[in-house]
């Protein structure tokens, strides 16, 4: 093992790094989909936030301002999705596709306008590795888990938080009910529209965190289309994890591991193209019902009309 994959600590560390944006975006997608709004725009939400983060950091020289920009951009784009799908009853798949295209075109457009260059932005202040005292001294897993960027620690906290919010709070109950039986939520006097706006808005913020980790945690610059399908892998993780925060995080870790192996394993052992297919193949397998069906929220994808 050692000579093929490098030190196990190194493999674990890069698994965490690859998994972090996936976990964050998948948690975001969960809030949206649990409220009944399909969000295939995660890719675009990540991309616009990755870009906005770099713009904010570049203007201010401060990584936290960048983070603020990123979350605001993710939120704004998510609200466009909500406006279209929930208020204007546009098709959710189409709107998500449009969000992706808008982010792709918009970031490339603004890259030229703001930085005067195509392709890659100038380097900015990012979120450097921030070893946690004591914890990072644990052999092997210490440096891998606790010598990471601040955004990674945030991800550690957000997984249980999301679980708690979704399954242990009245808000979570309403959100889930909105995705399953909106009529009942409506009858109980809770606005379906508002719950869906909350769900989609949260997806924008969380996917935004995932996006900004790409441009300011993994790298310290924005490159055109830098998400490169990660939003769709996050979507896959969400489904593979059966719309459950713990499951989705587990799936994202698995997919992150596959990516880490792809980078570290020697080319001729397993062609990297096949490793890259893995998340998608696994998702199709669970969708087809092998090893227990993955069942989506019942009212997902349908606009809700008051009778």
């Amino acid at each position: 093992m050692g000579e093929i994959f490098g030190a196990p600590g190194e493999l674990l560390a890069s698994t965490i790094r690859f998994a972090t944006p996936l976990v964050l975006a998948a948690l975001g997608g969960m809030f949206s989909e649990r409220s009944g709004v399909v969000n295939i725009g995660l890719e675009g939400l990540m991309l616009i936030s990755a870009f906005a983060g770099v713009v904010g950091a570049s203007l201010s020289g401060n990584a936290f301002v960048g983070l603020g920009f990123a979350l605001a951009a993710g939120l704004a784009f998510a609200l466009i999705h909500a406006l279209m799908c929930v208020t204007f009853e546009a098709d959710q798949i189409i709107s998500g596709t449009a969000i992706n295209l808008l982010a792709l075109g918009g970031t490339a457009f603004l890259l030229v306008i703001i930085f005067g260059t195509g392709g890659t932005s100038p380097r900015v202040e990012g979120f450097e590795e921030l070893p946690i005292p004591l914890l990072s001294d644990i052999p092997v897993i210490g440096p891998a888990l606790f010598s990471q960027s601040l955004l990674v620690y945030l991800m550690y906290l957000l997984v249980p938080t999301t679980y708690f919010v979704l399954f242990r709070t009245p808000f979570g109950l309403r959100l889930r009910a909105t995705g399953e039986v909106p009529e009942a939520v409506d009858t109980a006097g809770v606005s379906v529209t508002r719950m869906r706006y909350y769900g989609v808005a949260l997806s924008g913020v969380l996917a935004g965190l995932g996006g900004v980790y790409l441009s300011m945690g993994l790298l310290s610059a924005f490159t055109e289309n830098m998400t490169g399908g990660r939003g769709f892998i996050a979507l896959a993780a969400l489904i593979f994890g059966r719309w459950n925060p713990i499951g989705a995080a587990g799936a994202a870790l698995l997919f992150g591991f596959a990516q880490a192996v792809t980078i570290q394993a020697p080319q001729d052992l397993i062609p990297q193209e096949f490793l890259q297919m893995l998340p998608y193949i696994l998702t199709i397998i669970v969708l087809a019902g092998f090893g227990g069906r993955a069942i989506a929220p019942a009212a997902i994808g349908k606009p809700y009309r008051k009778e």
Binding site: A90, L102, A108
Partner: protein
């Protein structure tokens, strides 16, 4: 809305925009509305970035249709989008959402890149054989999500998205490993010029007879959907799966066939790109043609004629954007922004109702009336 008013009276009401759009006739209301708003938003963006929107749009128009060369570029860009648009439209008619055009196109492209080289010695005959092979591999690839839906109930939106990445990686694997050749850009060997699709000429630049193949494909799609028993069944399943089932039609078989036929169209598009434009498959290969097919199909209301028109609009925008960047320094990526806004608005039924009134909405129907979301 009172019923006693004459159409003339109704038409006289409302703003100029409303009148134009409502008079434009039912099916065009949604697309025209979306295009208009998108260009307005685009103008605001251009203005905000310190450029003159009028100059930008004039350059855009010139770059799209202003010269034979520009028209050639437009046609060149429209060609693959006709195929990927048809791939979406045919599946849509069965009530299915085919997001898999991207992967299907790559499967066709790698098929063509491989067979185009091995059969190249046959000359023009090779073109026919290679394109038939693309139809075949695309049909099989497209059938996968159909089968997964029919047999296991796996939602085709998710499976086709997943299959995109599987297809792209599969194609790249072949282009980078077994079929790789020495060269500056990684990719497959170049196909013999005699075994490629010839250029049209007439000063149209690199526009090639792939366009004619695309138009023929649109005719085939039309005949298939509206002039064959199978097409009737596919549309019946899309309109009302329950009724179709009751009438003895197999929902499963039609689901598989609609997605497989869609896959065949997209893969044919990939083959035409390789044989007509690039002569090989490079890594990376052209992206977003599959996703843009979704916009093309929706703008074209999932009708083959509409798909051709939608593809021409997309092709024109991309072609014009190059000229716009050259002449006015407005980055050409504006084209994607415009298209994204069009896509965002084109199914927003409530918005159309809000701006144009219920009559326009009722007149136009919705994009969803013709299949989407029924299965």
């Amino acid at each position: 809305m009172s019923e006693d008013r004459t159409p003339e009276e109704r038409r006289a009401r409302g703003s100029a925009l409303r009148r134009i759009l409502v008079n434009a006739g039912g099916p065009l209301v949604f697309p025209l509305f979306a295009i208009l708003i998108s260009f307005l938003i685009g103008a605001v963006i251009v203005l905000a970035t310190g450029h003159n929107p009028l100059a930008a749009y004039v350059a855009l128009l010139q770059g799209a249709v202003g010269s034979p060369e520009a028209i050639g570029r437009t046609l060149l860009g429209a060609t693959p989008l006709i195929f990927t648009g048809l791939a979406v439209a045919v599946a849509f008619r069965a009530g299915l959402f085919n997001i898999g055009g991207e992967g299907q196109l790559f499967i066709g492209a790698i098929t063509a890149a491989w067979l185009g080289v091995s059969l190249g010695f046959l000359g023009p005959l090779s073109v026919v054989l290679v394109l038939l092979a693309c139809v075949f591999t695309g049909f099989l690839w497209g059938a996968i999500p159909g089968f997964l839906k029919a047999r296991f109930g796996a939602h085709e939106v998710i499976t086709t998205i997943m299959l995109n990445y599987i297809g792209i990686n599969l194609a790249y694997y072949f282009a980078l490993k077994p079929l790789r050749t020495e060269g500056l850009v990684p990719g497959t060997d170049t196909i013999d010029i005699a075994a490629r699709i010839p250029f049209i000429g007439l000063g149209l630049g690199r526009a090639n007879y792939g366009l004619i193949i695309a138009l023929l494909a649109a005719v085939v799609a039309y005949l298939l959907l509206w002039r064959t028993r199978r097409g009737f069944q596919i549309r019946a399943v899309g309109l009302s799966p329950g009724a179709a089932h009751y009438a003895g039609m197999s929902i499963g078989v039609n689901t598989v066939l609609a997605l497989a036929i869609g896959g065949a169209f997209a893969a044919l598009g990939g083959g035409v790109e390789v044989l007509g434009v690039y002569g090989k498959m490079t890594v990376p290969f052209v992206t977003n043609l599959g996703y843009n097919g979704i916009g093309v199909a929706l703008l074209g209301r999932n009708h083959p004629v509409g798909v051709v028109l939608g593809a021409l609009l997309f092709g024109g925008l991309y072609s014009g954007a190059q000229e716009m960047q050259f002449a006015t320094d407005v980055p050409l990526q504006l084209a994607n922004v415009l298209l994204a806004v069009i896509l965002l608005l084109v199914t927003a039924t409530k918005l159309v109702e809000l701006v144009l009134g219920k009559r326009a909405r009722a007149l136009a129907g919705t994009h969803l009336d013709e299949g989407l979301g029924r299965q």
